[in-house]
């Protein structure tokens, strides 16, 4: 059991958690604006990176935090979204056809539905098989499927194989200029808000109640006439779609996709971000992503061995701070 109630529990801690959430949003919006005024593009892009990684974790948090499904393969969906954006950009730059059949577009509004649909179909397939298993088996089979897709991405010699694929021109959005760092940040921030709103609404709905009950007591849910399997499957697919969306944005941010976007290390990192922030808390992924990217950037700039410190921090959080960062900040270390 990871946590007892959904993230929006109406206890007296609720107000404090909302204040922390609001503070997180204010910080994350004001940093890139101030950075733009000071002409520090680097910090704008760093904020965008945080936003996108947070969004990938929002996706996983939906399955893991609210549905109790420990997916160790979400990097596959992240990479899938990335490859859709990368391949679209590649073909529209070269003026060639995808598989020699389909004309490519560099319009994000066309690329995203393809990425979401692709992720949904793959997640449906993976989920349908994986959700037959539970516990460690579920962790391992999602890992195995992600590895399969990872090796598949290496076999894509047209798109760079192991070396990856450069996106020479960033894909375009209908309004604004996606190459302007602040515009692109705004776009990603809007996408993050959408994904937060979606998880919030779904968790608060009848579906969310069923999902929480599937985690807490599946027999009881089944007795109420709702099949836990299909509830979980839908949640898994939605979760994968959010993460794939983040992947498509990540590829455009970096101007590059490669198989490491799908590696099992990446899957581990997404779990780390969810747990660092606080499992099953709506804004947990944002806190987790801020902490993770800052650790990576600043410790990484200071020592090559930054992962040693990441490991120590993570170990400390798992062993001693079970509510994650949001739990620490709200003084509400919910135990699961």
């Amino acid at each position: 059991m990871i946590n007892s109630i959904t993230s929006l529990n109406f206890t007296k801690n609720m107000s404090r958690e909302s204040w922390v959430n609001l503070l997180l949003l204010v910080v994350i919006v004001s940093v890139p604006i101030i950075a733009t005024l000071m002409d520090e593009v680097y910090y704008v892009n760093l904020s965008t990176r945080i936003i996108i990684i947070a969004m990938a974790a929002v996706g996983l948090n939906f399955a893991l935090g609210f549905g109790g499904m420990v997916s160790f393969g979400h990097a596959a969906f992240f990479g899938l979204g990335g490859y859709v954006a990368g391949i679209a950009a590649f073909h529209s730059f070269e003026g060639t056809l995808f598989l020699g059949l389909i004309p490519a577009s560099d319009q994000m509004l066309l690329i995203w539905p393809v990425a979401l649909l692709g992720a949904a179909m793959i997640a449906l397939l993976i989920g349908a098989i994986s959700l037959r298993t539970q516990g460690v088996y579920f962790i391992m089979i999602t890992l195995a499927f992600a590895q399969m897709i990872y090796y598949f991405s290496i076999s894509l010699t047209t798109y760079g194989g192991e070396d990856g694929l450069s996106i020479i021109l960033r894909n375009n959005f209908a309004i604004g200029n996606s190459n302007n760092p602040l515009h692109f940040f705004a776009l990603c921030f809007f996408a993050l808000l959408m994904s937060l709103w979606l998880s919030h609404r779904m968790v608060g709905s009848r579906f969310g109640a069923a999902l929480t009950m599937a985690k807490l007591n599946e027999t009881r849910l089944a007795t109420a006439g709702i099949e836990p399997y299909s509830i979980r499957l839908v949640a898994f697919v939605v979760s994968a779609m959010i993460t794939a969306f983040a992947g498509a944005l990540f590829a455009d941010l970096n101007g590059f996709v490669d198989p490491s976007m799908l590696s099992w290390h990446r899957s581990g990192e997404i779990i780390v971000i969810v747990v660092l922030g606080g499992v099953g808390r709506l804004f947990g992924p944002i806190a987790g992503a801020i902490a993770f990217v800052l650790l990576e950037t600043f410790l990484g700039g200071f020592t090559d061995r930054w992962q040693l410190f990441l490991g120590l921090v993570l170990l400390g959080v798992v062993l001693f701070a079970r509510g994650g960062l949001i739990g620490l900040m709200t003084g509400n270390a919910r135990h699961g």
């Binding site: 893991l64 460690v136 088996y137 090796y151 780390v272 490991g311 993570l314």
Partner: protein
């Protein structure tokens, strides 16, 4: 493909399977007895390989290095168990995954700090360098040694678990942890012992493989994932399942790597066929695992849980 080549690849598959068994048996034992999912098992493999390469480099004796590799990994296993792992037995799988993921980062970076980031090379004694003829196949002695070691370990584990007093406690621990505690067995010592045995096997595997490839940071991770595939196929907690799963994965993976690229050469350019074939061969065992789990969600030999 000739018969001799097929036989040779089959032997390679068995040798790979044996190595996977050394890893998987420890993992499955630790899961079966303590209910712990240990991602850091690959790091113990790496520690074993580094200690073996280091000791072999200093003393000049590979046999001493092999012993040191297994012992070094066991000692590291005990340290890790006492400091961290012990606190995880009562936690859920998510906490175990995360804490042991953290251990991977710490042990990898720690090893790089102690031994440097350059890969080390292990030299095997000249006795083991040659090849021998097995019928129509000429096969390296060293790989045969690995197969023999694997068979001995499998036999030893079988005897340890089914014929000794400590094995009886391990089996009892798998069935009912509270009860054997109540009967006066010191559970925490038993757990540390099981963890150390698993770590020693991983260290032995790392030391043996270290002579076939370079000894470097991160070498444990691909093996770790394969070992997980093995125990999931075999049924987590079952040593018999680990043995059969390891052989299955070893042989399918090795033969797939040889057969698929030549299969793709029928309708692709040789260079493209080689890269596509080998990438798809890497997918093969995951496909095998997905099929097996879709039919038997608890693996081939589900242990009682």
């Amino acid at each position: 493909m000739t018969l001799a080549l097929t036989l040779e690849q089959l032997l390679n598959g068995i040798q790979f399977g044996v190595m996977l068994f050394l890893m998987a048996s420890g993992l499955t034992l630790i899961f079966g007895v303590m209910g712990l999912i240990n991602l850091a098992h690959g790091s113990l493999y790496m520690v074993g390989a580094f200690v073996c390469a280091y000791v072999t480099g200093i003393t000049g004796s590979f046999w001493l290095g092999l012993l040191a590799g297994a012992l070094g990994a066991a000692i590291m296993g005990v340290i890790v168990e006492v400091l961290v792992i012990r606190r995880l037995y009562q936690r859920d799988h998510l906490d175990q995954v995360l804490a042991t993921f953290a251990l991977i980062l710490i042990l990898s970076e720690g090893t790089a700090l102690v031994f440097g980031s350059q890969p080390l090379w292990l030299d095997i004694p000249s006795v083991l360098k040659g090849s021998i003829e097995l019928g129509s196949v000429v096969y390296p002695v060293y790989r045969i040694l690995i197969i023999i070691v694997g068979v001995l370990v499998a036999l030893g584990l079988y005897l340890l678990i089914s014929r000794t007093r400590i094995g009886m406690k391990i089996r009892a621990g798998e069935n009912d942890r509270e009860m054997i505690g109540a009967l006066g067995v010191n559970i925490s010592v038993l757990y540390t012992f099981v963890f150390a045995v698993g770590a020693a096997l991983a260290g032995l595997a790392g030391s043996l493989v270290g002579a076939l490839q370079s000894v470097e940071v991160g070498m444990g991770e691909p093996v770790l994932i394969l070992a997980f595939v093995v125990i999931v196929i075999g049924g987590i907690g079952s040593i018999k399942g680990a043995l059969i799963g390891a052989m299955l994965v070893g042989i399918v993976d090795t033969l797939g790597r040889v057969l698929l690229p030549s299969f793709f050469q029928w309708f692709m350019e040789p260079s493209a066929a080689a890269s596509v074939g080998s990438a798809l061969a890497s997918m093969l065992i995951y496909l095998l695992m997905a099929i097996i789990l879709a039919i038997k969600p608890k693996g081939l030999f589900p242990a009682n849980d």
